[in-house]
Amino acid sequence: MAATAALSTRLRNRRPALNAFRKAVTRKPGRLIGLGIILFFVLLAICGPWFYGSLAVDPNAIYAAPSADHWLGTDFAGSDVFQEVVVGARYVLSTAALAALFTSVLGITVGLLAGYHRGFLDSALMRVTDFVLTIPGLPLLIILSTVWSFGSPWQMGLVLGLTGWGGVARAVRSQALTLRERGFLEAARGLGLPSRHIIVKELLPNIAPYVAMHLLLSVIAFIGAEVGLFFLGLVPFSSTNWGVMLNQAVFSGGAMNSPDALVYLLSPLVCILLLTLGIVLFLDAIDELFNPRLRERA
């Protein structure tokens, strides 16, 4: 009965989720800062390459110290590190975004199918999910890097997504099951709603914050993985990005031993840390949205 009531309440309020979201984000300044950081980097990724099309080189100013001309100094070829950081954001973020897209599409589809249909389909899909979860993603990725060159964000994003959807699928399934147990689906069905409607209009919005949480977490992991592959030099350097910068700084510039290349090392490092911090701070808001127990007491 309660479920029916809740459902009808939901149907009455058109966009309660949006309001709750706005409230959750503005409740603490940290969350706003987090959102700000994320938006900043997204803007950087979109617009950065417009400002600095191709990087200038200067063999006479290798590993120059930060100055008015070069805010973060220069790299091994005398290119401006600040410009590189800006340009490099695009590959990093677009790869993470694509990977998140693949992950969510795969994870949500599998999770919903399994959670909604139960039975054979459920157990079959869950076996596959278990398999994907068990296969260690990073080692697989480095093995795959011997076959595929991850030149475009699409390839890298696809592979990251293919290895990373297990968690989301499981989470979505368990959420779908919980909603099912709460009689949510029966109630909706009782109101005569078709299953497509139930899945798209009722299930999805209810698991959205949960999926968002998982996605943001996996975005962090994706950034770590892709940057790591470039950092270790396992993937050919096909573009300017933070991982390549880290690799060059450590393995060509000697940043671990020489102060000259330290800024070159720290610039992408700080970017990764900042972006992670932004996502983590922002995640707090989504966590609260999803977990009402946190909300009550906050």
Binding site: K28, G30, D130, F131, T134, I135, P136, G137, L138, P139, L140, I142, I143, S145, T146, V147, L217, I220, A221, I223, G224, A225, V227, G228, F231, L232, L234, L246, V250, M256, N257, L265, L269, I272, L273, T276, L277, I279, V280, L281, L283, D284, N291, R293, L294, R297, A298
Partner: protein, 330 residues
Amino acid sequence: MTGFARRLAGKLLAGLVMVWVVVTFTFFLVHALPGKPGDVQYESYIMQGFNPEEARAKVTAVYGFTSHDPLFSQYLGYLGRLLHGDLGQSVYYSGVPVSHLIWSALPWTVLPVLTGLLVSFLIGVIAGVIAAVKRSSRWGGLLSVSGSLVAGVPSFVLALLLLLVFHTEWHLLPDAGTSDITLEPGWSPEYVGSVVQHAVLPVISYALLSYGGWLLAMKSSVITVLGDDFILASELRGLAPVTRARYIGRNAILPLFTVLALSFGIMFAGSFFIEQTFDYPGLGELLLKSIGVRDYPVMAGAFLLITVAIIAANIVADLCYTLIDPRVRR
């Protein structure tokens, strides 16, 4: 306890099936990879002054450890040898058994990972409880954010920062190896001390890697348990605070066994980042090295072992869960 035995058998069977799937998957994946180990060496022979035919001859002489049987019979042979614990022979180390290489590397991954796991478990769980109890205060919030942040920062970034601070800047800890080579391996305090000293940074990295997971999981688990009926009931029955804390603790820790398996997997799979950064000769570095020289048997063996470790961790975690929670015991 027969239920327990049945559950164990079921889990083991499922694990075996999973291992078989992974074995098959790795076998065919590895055989689909282009390039041969000898190709890498060929050029180095050329550089040493061999002319092309001689270099080719030498490559076949030294790297002739690849089979020419049809793929499927190779696969069957591989499975058969696996049953006897034979992972094949290394190509790069001309004929050295892969299992030998893996056994030499394994302890240097397992020990730091387990130690790191233990340390992070202790700290993470305590921090998680604090974060849950003080969740409305500023410090509780900060603690939670620290957990998410540490969980989110890529392991190699952490490792690099640790190395920068503790080795490059402060010269406190070594940056490579597992012990001082001049010391005789054994149980002498100097040797053990040296091993511990070399392991500090990798262990800290592993601990940091999983600390956030523990913290966040424990926090949410404690919050959930705090809202459980029996906790309120025990309060209304006037149970002593210590007893109540024990009730909360034991119930809250239960879901963490899933996290345990997960963390172990993450750490094991991510070990190559940390081992590479600290030049620590574990499984991850072996995998990286074998990929670098296209030593496919070693690659397959290391990958397989990492996967088996994760599967085993899952089973162990599940069994621990069973032992502690009477509801699943049946």
